[in-house]
Amino acid sequence: MNLLKALILVLVTASVSAYANCPDVPKDFISEDPVGVPEEGASEDENVVVHYRTDPVQIAVGELFVMNLLVCAGDEPWSGTLGVDASMPAHGHGMNYEPKVSANNAGHFFAQGFLFHMPGRWRFEFSLGSEAGTRHVYSFVDI
């Protein structure tokens, strides 16, 4: 029994400490890993995770919204560049607006200028740029 508790404790600490070095990932952030095979030479970024939350959380058709992000590469804050865009894959079109991303300290980013003009499935596209090249992370939302 005690062993089990200890094991749980170790697991919990491990998962918390995974964020500890890339601090303050708020619980209500959505987290996404890159998809596809990492590009050559990108191995050091392999554990990169994009955490984000839109504001407002519930996206409404035709209303501008913004996004807070925290990008971590393993335990470290992401030090490369970040671009964010969105599109509707089923319709083959993107947004009529072009979000601008500003980098704050320690892997934190702020993006503004999103507007989803149709209901349905949208896909956020996060482009992570580093010396190793550009990697893409996707996240789907239904509105």
Partner: protein, 379 residues
Amino acid sequence: MARIRHIVFGVMLIASLSVISEDSVVFTETELGFIQSHGPWPPVFEGDSSNRLSGDPRAIVYGARLFSDLRLSRDGSISCATCHVPENNFVDGLSLGKGIEDGVRNTTTTSNLAFNRWFGWGGDADSLWMQNIRPIVSRAEMDGVQAVRNLHESDLEFGGWFMELQGEAVQQSSDEEMLVLVGKAMAAFLETQITGVTSFDRFRIALLSGDQRQMQRYPISAQRGLKLFSGRGQCSVCHFGPNFTNGEFAETGISYFTSKDVDNGRFSGIENVKTSPLSLLGKYNDKPQSGNADKTRFLRKRHDSFGQFRIPGLRSVAETGPYMHNGSLETLHDVVGHYSHIDLDRLHTDGQSILKPLNLNTTEIDDLVSFLKSLSDDN
């Protein structure tokens, strides 16, 4: 025994469903979602923060007077109301607007503009007051900059309104300042022009609350039309929300050639709004700190905006023909027929995946038209 009961129940269910389906239509979840988006009507309007005259009763009266005054045009022959005829749902009934010269675009109604994001067929303006200035300046429409000045200098009542709302006489104001004030006053007036509740709105409320009796008052043909509109026809994807427009732009295979040139629609619209000193990014925005210029700031320049036109709202649409940016379709039957046989080869933007030839039969065309007619105030 249990099985027999099931069968009997099943038969009864089918029987009762088929009875219902004679006088009411069954909607899918997706269709209901779209129908829900088409109300409530009218939406709450919180005022235009870029226009300090928005909601100001003096400006509304002054704006209404400006709107119908012939002295706003160079030769005193044309007012805004010449083309936007108030007794005729603010349209002229012509294919193309006709001012001092012949125009190249169909006159849009000036009702329900309080809810727009962009103005004009190409979205050349990002505020209602900015849009109101264009016809005065346009040589082809009113060519009236000097005329507006003369009106305010010679007519004490107009001069007085100007003085009161601008805080200085028209003589002290530049042309641009004068036009902005006049545009804002007319915007205060036009914001108040909102169409009434329709039989569609009553049906929508009844449908969402399950009020069968009220639902039956809505013609069955309009119900079938609504099902097509929000379902197979995909009309609601673009004609979304309470005013039946998602506020953006699309291409629907209507020619963009004009008698003189090409009308590249949204492409020029973006260019104009990004560069004009009258846009919300300029100094005439009365509350830039509210973020009301963000739509313009983040607006993307895109090549596929060439030949796109604004998705028009459809309230009172039965009263505002002819249709489309160039007035090329005379009746609602023509419009629905156009969508029914749409030629995808003529679409060069990415929107193709939404629009498909619907190959509607004549009953279905009548149903869609009957639904569109139910978007008019029936009082």
